[in-house]
């Protein structure tokens, strides 16, 4: 019991520490340029507090309830994404946001989590005691084709926004859950192979800026003032941080605005410039602790739904963290993925806290059965 509680404490403390580092970085990259009534960092504080409330709610809501409402959640996610498609707010050339009373809501964030819940539900049984995997008995239609279709509908809606990053992430989560739910490797290989074969075709469906970004990823110097600018500036910011960093509020790259999106997608570069390798390693450690807790909870959970859910949530966080940092380091193409808990943005922060709340609840309640 004490052990379980300490796992939850680790999750909560890591999450709060990461959020605090995020707020510091947001402050450092925005305090000079704003004359708003409600500065960005204060709004982020608000989102984190709201996220903590959601965390507590979810940690006390039995996760099996999610099994029951999974299809309903899936349907409402599709609804929201469709609404975005019809009446979403256009910002930075993309239609990703729903304008609510006084803030913008990004449904694709919550859709990621809902896909995790839905896929965990799909590959598990109602009965808690039956731990035998479902997919081994069923054919390819039940184990691969049907879930693929369920996944592709929201994924395509998101890619169409256009938000290639989140779309690709949902596919990656799908792959991870497919693998963990025991689908035959042959079938996964088939799926992977067909994706690779479809890639050249998919190239023609990409927007120009997306093609540009992929080309620039291969060589940022082909367009140093255009598409390659961000990656070059981000690498300079991180690299110039050195071992100890330039110190808080002394990052020239982020504070003199050479680095675009310094408080959202490229917040890691902002952070690494000011805190150096030492700070970055601490941040990575915190993320690793968080994700590792999720995995160890999954391993201890015998209930298939709970297991897939914890792995799915860990995979979701891990993929976002890894892709975002890799993209900051110039090791992955630039896609619009936030760094969970660090990047500014209410939708992302709250979604992440909800996901962590579910993890905490799985950890707390699995022993009861």
């Amino acid at each position: 019991m004490i052990n379980m509680r300490s796992a939850n404490a680790t999750i909560l403390i890591s999450a709060i520490l990461i959020s605090l580092l995020g707020i510091l970085s947001i402050y450092s990259s925005t305090y000079q340029k704003e004359a708003q009534d409600w500065p960005t960092y204060e709004r982020q504080i608000f989102w984190v507090i709201l996220g903590l409330v959601f965390f507590l709610v979810m940690a006390n809501l039995h996760y099996r309830r999610l099994w029951d409402v999974a299809y309903f959640l899936y349907a409402s996610a599709l609804m929201l994404l469709f609404l975005v498609f019809v009446m979403g707010a256009v910002r930075l050339g993309a239609q990703r946001w729903l304008r609510l009373a006084w803030f913008n809501f990004q449904p694709s964030e919550i859709a990621k989590l809902i896909m995790v819940i839905f896929l965990a539900r799909y590959f598990s049984l109602k009965s808690v005691d039956n731990v035998s995997s479902l997919v081994n008995k069923s054919g390819i239609l039940r184990s691969l084709v049907l879930p693929l279709i369920f996944m592709l509908v929201p994924a395509c809606l998101i890619i169409e926004q256009p938000d290639l990053g989140t779309g690709a992430m949902i596919m990656a989560i799908f792959m991870a859950i497919l693998y963990l739910s025991g689908v035959r490797l042959r079938q996964i290989a088939l799926f992977l192979g067909s994706i690779i074969l479809l890639m050249p075709v998919g190239w023609h469906f990409l927007r120009d800026y997306q093609k540009e970004r992929l080309l620039v990823f291969l060589n940022p110097n082909i367009d140093p003032l255009g598409a390659g600018y961000t990656v070059i500036q981000s690498k300079i910011a991180i690299g110039s941080g050195g071992f100890l960093g330039k110190g808080w509020l002394s990052g020239t790259q982020s504070q003199l605005r050479f680095l675009p999106e310094a408080h959202t997608d490229f917040i890691f570069a902002t952070f690494a410039e000011q805190w150096g390798l030492l700070g970055s390693l601490l941040l990575l450690l915190l993320y690793y602790l968080l994700i590792n807790q999720g995995i160890s909870i999954g391993m201890k959970t015998h209930d298939n739904f709970g297991r897939l859910l914890s792995f799915g949530i860990s995979a979701m966080l891990a993929i976002q963290v890894c892709i975002n940092i890799a993209m900051n380091l110039g090791l992955a193409p630039v896609v619009g993925l936030p760094l969970p808990l660090m990047s500014y943005g209410g939708s992302s922060v709250i979604t992440t806290f909800i996901a962590l709340g579910i993890l905490a609840n799985i950890n707390k309640t699995r022993g009861v059965f």
């Binding site: 300079i236 690299g239 110039s240 020239t252 003199l256 605005r257 050479f258 390693l281």
Partner: protein, 570 residues
């Protein structure tokens, strides 16, 4: 099993990211640090003023004045209009004119636009007072060479221009850079290292649009050092006015120290033209066959003519070939071998003193033959001919004294007595500069010392005369010097002396005239002398290129000395 693989895979990805971070921050950290500084640090140079050039009494000959430029950092469109309106009121230029300048000069939001050039100090101060309200105006002082006397002493001073490739390779080790403004010719070139200013710089931090955020460091500019000349501005003005538009050169020197009191050369040039970059005028200067950029006083080489007879006389007296009682008969011409050499007049029987006074060629033909060419050559070298005098001005010519050996070695021809006769009256291959002649004359004024002429008295208030003054004793008998001095005096005092016109001056001048026959055009005219005779204070050398005769030079000398006297300078 699959759970394990999944978590191992995650760990592997994290390790990969850590490796990426290490690569960027530690292995390439220094490069990226340099790049980030290059991103945000800009250097704004702050020019200093070039050192002034003063005359011997501290009067400013060449000045450096500050001129101010008004620059505007482009910002939002609406604010520019407000700024321009405010400026228009102070500067007294219409708003629309300023707006036109702004539109013409606008390049990008980060580059300041020069709106008004060369504002005087009062307006600059008034604009500076506007600054608290208008943050984006910049007043940039830049020092400019000022020539209060236009082209006065232009050859001595030189001019300023952008450094050329030859000078750059020579001077790169001393911190000179491309686009530097350096001196060309004269004091500006010779003392450039002292005169030149040191640039200061303001290092500022800018944001991604190149907008100023804060000052990081400042090094104040250093002005160049002032150079004080031995030149006397009043003498220089009179000399140049008297020379007028005649091609030639005038040098006035202190015979005991070598200080140059005045040095003029015509044709000259206007150094301001190089500042204004008036290319038409400049290319005309370079293509002019009259060589206006040439300082004839030190770089022009001409035959010495009869002036050289002084050297021959000294050589003959010193070697004992003749004495004061030696005399030759001048019948208007004489034969050397089978060739007839003529004198310019029939002088009758001439002793040394009267031969100098009348500049009798026959006497010197015969003396020269007695002496031999090698002796003449050796004594010419004793007087410092055939090598530069060492004056502290660039591009001095060395002149030339021929000798039989030289003729053999470089022209593969024999030296004949006819050549000796020619050399004895300063014709033929002999070439001298006016400054060499002045220096030669100084030997008699100061009783046997060969001085090194110099132009600069002190640098940055520090007297350097003790380094400039270099005297060398010429081993001559005092009697020889006295005889020659007597002869030189007779040139003026003898009623039929060639310089008799100068007798009317109450100064007691002594000297030697010279008329040089040239292949084309009028003969050159020389007068080299010193005054007052009993206690010499000045040596003067007047040379007129194609001026007609030595008589013309005497007339010019008279004019100069009269003017000096009139101004109370003598």
């Amino acid at each position: 099993m699959r759970n394990k693989i999944f978590s191992l895979f995650l760990g592997f990805i994290f390790l990969l990211i850590i490796f990426g971070l290490f690569n960027l921050q530690i292995i390439h950290g220094r490069n990226f640090k340099a790049l980030s500084q290059k991103n945000c640090i800009r250097l704004i140079t702050q020019p200093g003023a070039r050192g002034r050039i003063l005359d011997r009494h501290g009067q400013v000959v060449i000045d450096s004045r500050l001129s101010y430029d008004l620059l505007i950092l482009p910002d939002e469109e609406g604010r520019i209009d407000k700024v321009l309106h405010a400026i228009a009121g102070v500067v007294g230029v219409a708003y629309s004119g300023l707006k036109d300048e702004f539109i013409k000069g606008y390049l990008s939001p980060s580059i300041p636009v020069t709106i008004v050039r060369n504002i005087d100090m009062k307006k600059a101060i008034a604009l500076e007072e506007l600054k608290p309200n208008l943050a984006n105006i910049v007043i940039q002082p830049h020092p400019l060479r000022d020539y209060p006397y236009a082209s006065l002493a232009c050859h001595v001073i030189g001019y300023l221009n952008e450094i050329d490739r030859w000078r750059l390779t020579k001077l790169a080790d001393y911190g000179y850079k491309t686009k530097d403004i350096v001196g060309f010719g004269g004091i500006e070139e010779k003392y450039d290292y002292y005169l030149r200013q040191e640039e200061g710089a303001l290092s500022v931090e800018v944001d991604h649009q190149g907008r100023f955020t804060r000052v990081v460091g400042f090094r104040p500019p250093k002005n160049g050092r002032d150079v004080q000349l031995t030149l006397d501005l009043r003498f220089q003005k009179i000399v140049e006015d008297s020379l007028g538009l005649r091609r030639g050169s005038v040098v006035i020197m202190d015979p005991f120290t070598g200080e140059i009191i005045a040095m003029a050369s015509f044709p000259g040039f206007s150094p301001v033209a190089f500042l204004n970059k008036s290319s038409g005028y400049i290319s005309k200067l370079f293509n002019n066959p009259g060589a206006p950029l040439l300082n004839r006083s030190i770089s022009g080489v001409f035959p010495a003519g009869s002036i050289f007879k002084v050297v021959v006389s000294v050589a003959a007296l010193e070697t004992g070939k003749i004495n004061l009682s030696t005399s030759f008969l001048c019948t208007g011409s004489t034969y050397v071998g089978r060739q007839e050499f003529s004198c310019w007049d029939k002088h009758g029987r001439q002793g040394l003193l009267s031969a100098i006074a009348h500049s009798c060629n026959t006497f010197f033909y015969k003396t020269g033959i007695l002496l031999g060419a090698q002796n003449i050559h050796d004594y010419a070298l004793k007087f410092g001919l055939s090598k530069p005098t060492g004056i502290d001005l660039p591009y001095e010519s060395s002149g030339f004294v021929p000798s039989p050996l030289w003729r053999r070695l470089s022209q593969f021809r024999n030296w004949f007595d006819g050549d000796t006769a020619n050399l004895a009256i300063g014709q033929g291959d002999l070439l001298v500069t006016p400054i060499q002649m002045a220096r030669m004359m100084a030997v008699f004024a100061n009783n046997g010392w060969l001085v090194s002429p110099y132009m600069v008295k002190s640098v940055a208030g520090q007297n350097i005369e003790h380094e400039q003054r270099r005297l060398g004793k010429i081993s001559l008998k005092q009697a020889t010097i006295n005889y020659i001095k007597q002869g030189l005096r007779q040139v003026v005092s003898d009623p039929s002396g060639t310089g008799n016109i100068l007798l009317s001056l109450p100064l007691g001048i002594a000297g030697k005239t010279g008329t040089v026959q040239v292949a084309q055009g009028q003969p050159h005219g020389w007068f080299v002398g010193f005054f007052p005779f009993n206690s010499p204070k000045f040596v003067i050398c007047v040379f007129l290129e194609h001026g007609g005769s030595g008589y013309m030079s005497c007339k010019l000398t008279k004019q100069i000395l009269e003017m000096l006297k009139q101004k109370g300078l003598l």
